[in-house]
């Protein structure tokens, strides 16, 4: 980018304009927004009505007993925050980058690549927060929350979304075709299944436990489960630090990559 260009003052948060753009598009597709609440809810119901009837109660690390649905619900909260933000940051960004060519037009204005990256991220997190709030409310109605800390569920979802959206967007800038998204699926699915989501960490052999603890979703699950069950510990702070670091690195990489891709 030429440094000699005079920039009209855009305010400190230029990315808001991209957020506004996405809001405008989204408002027209309100059905999509509303049905977005449905998916995690359905998972929760199928676990409550289905699997919980087949398995007994679970014992948490601090010794408290919970039903299977109470155990899985926070993991669903974390996983849907991951899925939602990843979807926006990968498929969504790729579609806009390659097909709709939204960013080519955006970057012809005073907005910079970093504004685009931040704008997309903020947009995705706003939605994550709204969905998470609805999910936590639903958990409370079903009696699946064991602590007032559950009110922080949406914040946890935003932190998780930040981590995955940042990383996902960075990866997307290297994607060549839809085929490459198979790699994302192949990375996400094992995390979804094995990050202490459906059964506790102690079910694994020691070596595998160590591996699971390296994955970002594991930390997301720890964070959400700690908050909704009220079993708090230092591991929650570790989780937050891990996720924030992951998102920040991803964001830095993506704004740099978007710059090289779009401003050639």
């Amino acid at each position: 980018m030429s440094t000699g260009v005079v920039r009209p003052p855009l305010g400190r948060f230029a990315a808001q304009h991209l957020v506004a753009r996405n809001y405008l598009v989204y408002r027209r597709d309100w059905v999509v927004f509303v049905t977005g609440f449905l998916e995690p809810l359905l998972y929760l119901l199928s676990i409550g009505l289905g699997i919980q009837q087949l398995v007994g109660d679970f014992v948490l690390a601090d010794g408290s007993r919970v039903t299977y649905t109470e155990f899985v619900a926070p993991a669903m909260l974390a996983a849907s925050a991951m899925n939602g933000s990843l979807f926006d940051a990968t498929f969504g960004v790729f579609f806009k980058l390659k097909y709709e060519k939204v960013y080519d037009a955006v970057l012809a204005t005073p907005l910079r690549p970093v504004d685009v990256a931040v704008g997309e991220l903020v947009w995705s997190l706003l939605r994550a927060a709204v969905y998470a709030a609805a999910f936590v409310a639903f958990m409370a109605i079903l009696g699946l929350t064991g602590s007032w800390w559950a009110l922080l569920g949406p914040v946890a979802a935003v932190v998780i979304g930040y981590a995955f959206a940042g990383a996902g967007m960075a990866l997307t800038t290297w994607m060549r075709s839809w085929q490459d998204f198979d790699f994302i699926t192949l990375a996400v699915l094992p995390m979804f299944l094995f990050s202490a989501t459906f059964f506790p960490l102690n079910r694994y052999p020691d070596g595998v436990q160590w591996l699971v603890q390296l994955t970002p979703l594991y930390h997301g699950v720890v964070l959400c489960r700690g908050l909704t069950t009220g079993a708090l510990g230092v591991d929650l702070l570790v989780a937050v630090a891990y996720l924030v670091a992951m998102g920040s690195i991803g964001l830095a990489v993506s704004s740099r990559r978007l710059g090289t891709l779009l401003l050639r």
Binding site: V32, G36, S46, Q53, G56, L186, F194
Partner: protein
């Protein structure tokens, strides 16, 4: 270019479908590795997590009785096969079909040649069937590796899985050719595919569900696929019930094809 007739004028109309062989062969060559790896890795992951990991809690927690006396792994293995072919069918019958109409417009190029809209539809469905066959076969091999197949009935699971997939593919072809905007897929996915995936008896018997939901699950094709394939992999098919399941799935296939045929004709050559 000379103006001599450059092509065989026409051959038997059925030959028109086969003329698309190279088209799909080239596409297959470009994509089969990805889908083969996915069809191989996904079942392993699901079986390990749900069948082995969660299964231990089910088996210890006394869930076997509700499952008709089988281990959870044996119970969900066929369910996972059925849901996997369903998902493959959904993937191959939504975005690519709309893309060939709306973005790439490859269907329009195809019908500018001697191909008719029905040839294009049949050719594309044939490709979907081939993909279903590959995914089902790979999945089947994984199940075999996990030792959850009871021979010889389990041999029939792959051809039956193709029918299960096609029962989802043909109506979705109709829908994709009919929809103007891709946001419709999001709805289909969230309101149709996800609930069907969760409540069709793949992960737990639908008898645990409230009556109305049970009834809904039975109206959709996936439940019948799950029941059919489970009977085969457990080695205890029920000829009468399974015949009804097959018949019901075929109704979906045929009805879907008729609708898709109409939608293709209307959208491509209206």
């Amino acid at each position: 270019m000379t103006s001599s007739p450059g092509v065989p004028v026409t051959d038997a109309p059925n030959g028109l479908v086969w003329r698309q062989f190279d088209h799909w062969r080239v596409r297959w060559r470009r994509t089969w590795r990805g889908s083969a790896v996915t069809s191989f890795v996904l079942p392993i992951l699901y079986l390990l997590a749900m069948g082995v990991g969660l299964g231990a809690y089910v088996d210890e927690g006394g869930g076997r009785e509700s499952l008709g006396g089988v281990d959870y792994l044996d119970f969900i293995a066929p369910g996972l096969l059925a849901t996997a072919v369903m998902q493959t069918a959904v993937g191959a019958s939504t975005w690519p079909v709309m893309g060939a109409i709306k973005w790439d417009k490859t269907y329009f190029a195809m019908i500018a040649s001697p191909l008719r809209t029905r040839d294009v539809l049949v050719g594309n469905l044939g490709f979907v069937a081939a993909r279903l066959a590959m995914s089902a076969a790979v999945f089947w091999l994984v199940l075999w590796g996990f030792g959850v197949l009871v021979m010889p009935w389990a041999m029939l699971a792959v051809p039956v899985a193709i029918v299960v997939g096609m029962a989802h593919a043909t109506p979705l072809f109709a829908l994709s050719a009919w929809l103007e905007r891709e946001t419709g897929f999001m709805l289909v996915y969230r309101v149709g595919v996800v609930p069907m995936f969760l409540f069709s008896g793949a992960f737990f018997p639908i008898s645990q569900l409230p009556g109305l939901v049970q009834w809904l699950a039975q109206a959709l094709p996936l439940y019948h696929g799950v029941e059919l394939i489970r009977g085969l992999t457990l080695g205890r098919p029920d000829l009468l019930a399974d015949g009804a399941h097959v018949a019901y799935l075929l109704v979906w296939c045929v009805l879907g094809f008729v609708l898709a045929d109409r939608a293709f004709a209307r959208r491509l050559a209206g």
